[in-house]
Symmetry: C2
Subunit: 409 residues, 2 copies
């Protein structure tokens, strides 16, 4: 869309007027190092805010707290987020600790406890080191400012097994004025449907109602955070929050046909898409990103089932790692996906090169498939030739490095 | 059950009166070696026969052929089975080749084509080398006999990435007489719900109607072949066949309360269970077998969902490989299984040692958990404490060796 300018690997939220950030080290992991592990996002103006959270029935304490604060519809002034400890499976004490994080941040910022959202990511089943966290909160509140430096520190402080920070900014031009949508995210492992073990924080200076924010965010995550898979696991802590502080003084009216509404919607989608791509590309020890395009399905759900069955098949993922164009494994995974499928109608191709046409192999192109799967990123298309529905999934390979990395924590 | 005697690692089908076997080499893989790759099972008396097949919508040609021959309800005299090539995604030529395998075997044995079942396992998408297969069939028919040697050769000829052959015999005593149920199987990779990439052939000398055979086999596979997982993949070729040649002259009457019916049913379950255990223990490059017992679920389906979510989670399987008692990953996988689950009610234990009670960790037992997960086989129990339903799943770890082994074919 014209008038939208994507600034990749920007400093992220510091690009949004009215937001202050901080990233500090408070040794959540008890390792005695100075790794950044506590991030603060703060807006002087109160924000309209919406969130989308994990569907896991084992929900971390901070997720429950955020859902509660957002349900009451109060305005949000900030987010405090730590890495290194998920505060999940921590019972009553965990809930008290999550509340205490909000309370300490609110006190130090001079706002109400319910104005502060709380996020955690890291190991499950251990209580937070609250003395360290509290000291970190005071330090973060003191250091917060609108510099790119602190914004990048914040983006780094939420990382776990990620190898780089993930930030992006989209500048929106409309009627001669400029507005901003920016975001930061963390991902790395446990990335599957419904945003597993990922945190993403988006912010804008537009003035947007909670209703519109909700619609726009849900649309934004659909083809991005909800259409990537690394290992098929879904975490207890997934959170995407979108804040709108209205500092630009420009209201987004509730008219999906208006220019500004459409540009805002497109900007949020671009931010989500860019962050999702960064997450999947930084999957734990991966060597390949594969774009799976399923078409010709009898329903959208069928298209998604086929894409996820392939994207999560250990045999398929292992063959990608081995640069083996093993289309037989693609066909067998499609076959057990539970979708309507007729073998004699199935087409499979690597990039544009056919591997299977009408259920029959085209071995004459074998040399070309082999060349394609040697690339770091390639596309596999499956046409079921039954209906008109499609799904696009970004998936990764499975490597010996992943197993080794995850064999202990 | 008393009067049932399990002979583990027997020669298998040669223990059943009236059956002849052969295992020969015909170089299906075109490698010029003398690996056994074609098995023949033959009964001089016509058999009642039933089969259970893959639910994959991409079905190999021999699976379609078996379904057709069994649907007509004709009696079966034998099975011809090759490894090294799955004859899947091979179109019209593949169907003709499967028919030709039945026809050649039937001709050489002097029976009808529809009396011979056909099975294949191995690589997908390549046509069978029919000249070699035909030569192999003639050789197998010549060599077939009731010796343990040929029975073990047959059990070896169906293997792919298995590291050992899988055979078992159960002797049934009833009213002073003895009957036999025996079986052979192959497994190794792609083992998940509904018997993925596995073949199992069971036989008995009892005289059993097709209706009873069907009931008994379906019951037998439920807690065995359908309750194991290695990599979560389901193949195009899964087949379990049960043959009854009636050579003992003893009819199993259609009375589920009769002694012989119950003993036969139990014997089939024992054979299935023993073969399933062998399959999971010989999973590709595994180092651990973990028995998952889920209880207290709101429904049998919920119990199964939780067990499978855990047994197929890459993070869980990697931690088993690393001998890390990471109960947090068990809880998170249970949480996304899609089953009714209340975190505050969840109990998890390693063998009998609690890890989580009522959703709260019991770190005082950490040393004991660590000891337990160092064993080659251990049990993890999850009690959801919601309802009364249970599911037991045998699962394996995920190793760097698995990924390396499957990165190319």
């Amino acid at each position: 869309m014209k008038d939208l300018c994507l600034i990749d690997n920007s400093a992220g939220l510091s690009d949004v007027p009215g937001f202050e950030l901080a990233g500090v080290s408070c040794d959540v992991r008890n390792k005695g190092d100075d790794r950044l592990d506590l991030a603060l996002i703060f807006s002087h103006s109160p924000c309209k805010a919406v969130g989308v959270f994990t569907l896991n029935k084992v929900k971390a304490a901070p997720v429950r707290l955020c859902e509660k604060y957002l349900r009451t519809g109060g305005e949000i002034k900030g987010i405090i987020a730590n890495s290194g400890n998920a505060n999940a499976c921590t019972g009553k004490e965990g809930m008290e600790n999550a509340s205490a994080m909000a309370k300490e941040t609110a006190l130090a910022c001079g706002v109400e406890q319910e104005n502060i959202l709380v996020c955690s990511t890291g190991r499950i089943g251990e209580q937070l080191p609250m003395d360290k966290i509290k000291a970190g909160i005071l330090s973060a509140v003191q250091q917060k400012n609108s510099s790119d430096e602190q914004s990048l520190k914040a983006a780094n402080a939420i990382l776990t097994s990620d190898t780089y920070s993930k930030t992006v900014t989209v500048q929106v031009s409309c009627n001669g004025k400029k507005y901003t949508v920016a975001g930061m995210a963390k991902g790395a492992g446990m990335i599957e449907p419904n945003m597993a073990t990922m945190l993403a924080f988006l912010a804008t200076d537009l003035d947007v109602s909670t209703e519109i924010l909700d619609k726009v965010l849900r649309k934004g995550i659909k083809g991005s955070f909800n259409a990537i898979t690394i290992d098929g696991d879904m975490s207890t802590n997934d959170t995407v929050v979108l804040l709108a502080n209205g500092d630009s003084g420009q209201l987004v009216e509730d008219d999906p046909k208006s220019e500004l509404y459409q540009k805002f919607e497109a900007a949020v989608e671009m931010v989500c898409q860019s962050l999702a791509e960064k997450i999947v590309s930084d999957g734990e020890k991966i060597t390949k990103v594969v774009e799976l395009n399923v078409s010709g399905a009898a329903s959208p759900a069928d298209a998604e089932k086929v894409a996820r069955a392939i994207g999560n098949s250990l045999l398929v993922k292992s063959s990608w790692y081995g640069e083996d164009p093993n289309w037989g494994r693609l066909a067998h995974a499609a076959g057990y996906a539970g979708a309507d499928l007729i073998e004699e109608k199935l087409d499979i191709s690597y990039n544009e090169i056919p591997a299977l046409v009408g259920g029959m192999p085209r071995p004459e192109y074998k040399t070309k498939w082999k060349e394609i799967v040697r690339a770091k990123r390639f596309t596999i298309s499956l046409n079921l030739n039954i209906g008109g529905d499609t799904f696009r999934l970004l998936a990764t390979d499975l490597t010996e490095g992943y197993v080794n990395f995850n064999k202990s924590e």
